[in-house]
Symmetry: C2
Subunit: 389 residues, 2 copies
C-alpha cells in the first residue's frame, strides 16, 4: 500500500510534520484543511472561488450524494469531479458518521447498516462493499472505509463492539477494492478509551491502509481529552502514512492537532460559523453584527488579503448580514476559508523553517478561542437522540 | 436640463431607440436593464459578477438604505458607490413606490409622508426635499423625484389627487437640488387614465427633467392596458430625453417596452424568479426542478455563454436546488441576468441594423411567456393591504 498512499514526509519540527500527498488530481501540501462540500458544493461558493483561495482538495460525502442526487446520476455525469466542476483532489467520507448522526433511524449489524433517509424517510441498506463501490463510482482521490461511530458516554463494552465491527468492515472494504487509483484510508475508532484506540491502530495497521483517520473524536468529550487521545493514537501510527483527524477544524484545534502530528483536517465549522456572522481574526472570532463594526470604514481584518477584506468595509458586511442579503454568507465564507488557508500556509512555513514552536506560542499569544462547549453538547444530544440501537 | 440629461439618441427603428446615457461613472448604452440592488447589493452577487455579465448601471433604493444602514452611514463611507464596491453607474429610486407598498403604515399629506418602517415599526417622516438631500448624500448618477403611487382600482378622483401631489413634489424636488452632477428624473403618474397621464406628462415636461419615468404601471392592470398606456405616454414625451419604465422586467415586457420607445427598465423579476428556480430560455421560463433535467448532462441552455451554463450541467443545477445549496441561487441569478443582458444586446444590435421588427417577430416565434396573473394580483393584494389611507 505504501506506493498507493502517495505520501511523502518532507520535514518534522516539534511534533509537527510537513509532507505532500500525490493524488490523480495533483499534489496536495500537508498539513492541509479540506473545505466541506458534503452535497458536492462548498456551501455558497463556486469551485473557482475555492480554488482561488488556494485549496487543492475538498471533502464530499457518500451518504449525502447516495441519497441525493444518487450515485448513478453522478456516475453518469462522468463522476464527482466533473459533476461539481472541481478539477482538484477530492476526499469522500464513507458516510459512517452521517449514518449514525443524521439518518432518521439506523441499525447496524455485521452485514451492514439499515437506515432511513433524513430527507424522505425512505429505507436503505449499506454494506462495506457497497460503500466502496459507490466511492469508486464517485471517483474521489481518497476514499474512506465504512465505520460504526459510538457516542460520547457509551460504555467501554459498547464502544469495543462498534470498534470490532469497524475493523471487520475495514477488512471487507479493502477486499472490495476494484480500482487501483484511489487511496483507501482506515478509520481508528475506540472512543475515549486509550486501550481500545491502541487495539484499533494495531489491527488497522496490520491490514495496511494508504492513510489513517482518527474518527469519533470532538463529539462531546473535553478538549484536553481529545488532544490526549490524538497524541496517543499518533504515537502508534506509522510515520510514513498520512494521519487525518476527522471533523476538526477550528483554528485553535488545527494548531494543536498539527502539534501532535496530524496531516489532514476537515470541518464544516469555518463555513458554518461564517454563515452565522462569526469571522476569524488572529485575535479570535468576531461577530460581524457587533455595534463596533457598524460604522467601520476599514475591512474587518485590515491586513487580510481575502476578496472580502480587499473589497468591502466591515460596515458594509454588517449591513449585508443585518439586511439578510445572501451575499453576506458568501463574503463571510470566503473570509473564514481564506483565514484557514493562510493558517495552514503559515504552519507549513514554520515547520519548514524549524520554528513551529515559536509559531504556536505566537498564535496563542494573540488568539482567544471561543467556548464551543454549548455547541458540542448540543451536537452530542442530537447524535444521541437520532440513534436507535 | 438637456446638457445634464446626458442622453444622446443614436438611432430609431420601428419605434425602438438606441442611445447612450453619459454618467459620471461612464457611458451606458440604451435600451438598458438595471439589475435591482435595493439594499446596496444585487441579490446573491458580488459587484464583480454583475460587471462581468456586462452591466454598467444598477438600481438601489433610497427607502431601503434610509432605513438600513441609514443614509449617514453610507455618506460616511464616501457614498453608495464606494460602500457597495460598484464603480459603474447607479440609479437610486426615491422610494415612493416602497413607501406606499412596503412600509407598515403610510400617510401622505402635501408636506410629505409619515410612515412606519417595515423592519421595526419605527415612525419616520419624509419630504420631497429630504428625499433629494438623501439621494445627493448617497451620490447616485441618476436620482428620482418623490412620487405618490396609487393602487390599481383606485377611482379617477383619487388617482388625480395622488398625481397632482406628485407634481407639486416634483417641483419641490427640482428646487431642492444642490449638487449639479446628478440627473434628476420626473415620474409620470395618472394610473390607468389616459387623460391624467397626458396631464402628468404636460406638467412634468413644462418643469423640465433630465429624464422621464413612467410610474404606477404593471401593478395589476391587464398587460394590454399597460402597453397601451406606455404607448400613449411615450408619444407625448420629448424625443431627446430618456424614458424609464419603472419595475418592468420580464423578457417579453422588455421587448414590447422597447418597441414602444422605452430606454430604461428595472425589475427584481429576473433575479427573484431565478431564486425560485425559474430560468430564462429563448423558449420561455423553465423550472430547473423539472424531472426532464434530473439527468441532463448538458447545460440548461446549451449555447448560453454565462458562467453557469459554461460550467455546470442542468442535472447539477437541479441537484443544488433540491439540496437547498445556496450556490444554486447564485448560479440561477447569473444565468437570468446574463440572459437579460444578452437580450438587451440583441435588441440594440437589431435597432442599429434596422431590423428590430424582424428581431421582435423572431423573439415571439419561439418565446412562450409565463402567466404572471396570479403573482401580480398577489402583489396588488399586498399593495392594498399595506396602504392605510
Amino acid at each position: 500500500m505504501t506506493e498507493q498512499s502517495g505520501f511523502r514526509l518532507l520535514k518534522t519540527c516539534a511534533g509537527a510534520r510537513v509532507g505532500e500527498l500525490a493524488t490523480p488530481h495533483g499534489p496536495v501540501a500537508t498539513p492541509v484543511f479540506l473545505p466541506v462540500g458534503s452535497q458536492g458544493a462548498v456551501k455558497t461558493l463556486t469551485p473557482e472561488e475555492v480554488k482561488d483561495i488556494g485549496f487543492k482538495m475538498v471533502l464530499a460525502n457518500t451518504y449525502h450524494l447516495y441519497l441525493r442526487p444518487g450515485i448513478e446520476v453522478v456516475a453518469k455525469m462522468s463522476g464527482l469531479h466533473k459533476f461539481m466542476g472541481w478539477d482538484g483532489a477530492i476526499l469522500t467520507d464513507s458516510g459512517g458518521y452521517q449514518l449514525f448522526s443524521l439518518a432518521a433511524l439506523c441499525r447496524a449489524s455485521d452485514e451492514g447498516v439499515v437506515f432511513r433517509s433524513h430527507i424522505d424517510g425512505s429505507e436503505h441498506f449499506l454494506t462495506p462493499e457497497l460503500v466502496v463501490q459507490y466511492q469508486e463510482a464517485l471517483g474521489a482521490d481518497i476514499i474512506m472505509v465504512l465505520d460504526e461511530c459510538s457516542a460520547y458516554g457509551d460504555s467501554l463494552e459498547r464502544v469495543r463492539e462498534a470498534m470490532l465491527r469497524t475493523h471487520r468492515w475495514a477488512e471487507r472494504c479493502k477486499k472490495a477494492l476494484k480500482r487501483g487509483d484511489q487511496a483507501l484510508y482506515g478509520i481508528v475508532q475506540g472512543g475515549v478509551f486509550p486501550e481500545l484506540r491502541r487495539q484499533s491502530v494495531e489491527y488497522l495497521t496490520s491490514l495496511g491502509f494508504a492513510g489513517y483517520a482518527i474518527g469519533g473524536l470532538s463529539v462531546g468529550e473535553p478538549k484536553t481529552q481529545t488532544l490526549a487521545l490524538v497524541e496517543e493514537v499518533v504515537a502508534l501510527l506509522p510515520q510514513d502514512k498520512p494521519r487525518y483527524l476527522m471533523g476538526v477544524g477550528s483554528p485553535e484545534d488545527i494548531v494543536e492537532g498539527v502539534a501532535r502530528g496530524i496531516d489532514i483536517f476537515d470541518s464544516a465549522l469555518p463555513t458554518r460559523v461564517a454563515r452565522n456572522g462569526a469571522l476569524f481574526t488572529w485575535q479570535g472570532r468576531r461577530n460581524i453584527r457587533n455595534t463596533a463594526f457598524s460604522q467601520m470604514d476599514q475591512p474587518l481584518v485590515p491586513d487580510c488579503r481575502c476578496y472580502t477584506c480587499r473589497t468591502f468595509s466591515a460596515a458594509y458586511l454588517q449591513h449585508l448580514f443585518k439586511s439578510e442579503e445572501l451575499l453576506a454568507l458568501r463574503l463571510a465564507t470566503i473570509h473564514n476559508l481564506y483565514f484557514i488557508h493562510t493558517l495552514m500556509d503559515r504552519i507549513r512555513n514554520a515547520v519548514l523553517d524549524g520554528t513551529f514552536n515559536a509559531f504556536r506560542d505566537n498564535f496563542w499569544a494573540s488568539y482567544q478561542p471561543t467556548d464551543e462547549g454549548a455547541r458540542v453538547s448540543q451536537k452530542q444530544k442530537w447524535l444521541r437522540s437520532r440513534r436507535q440501537l
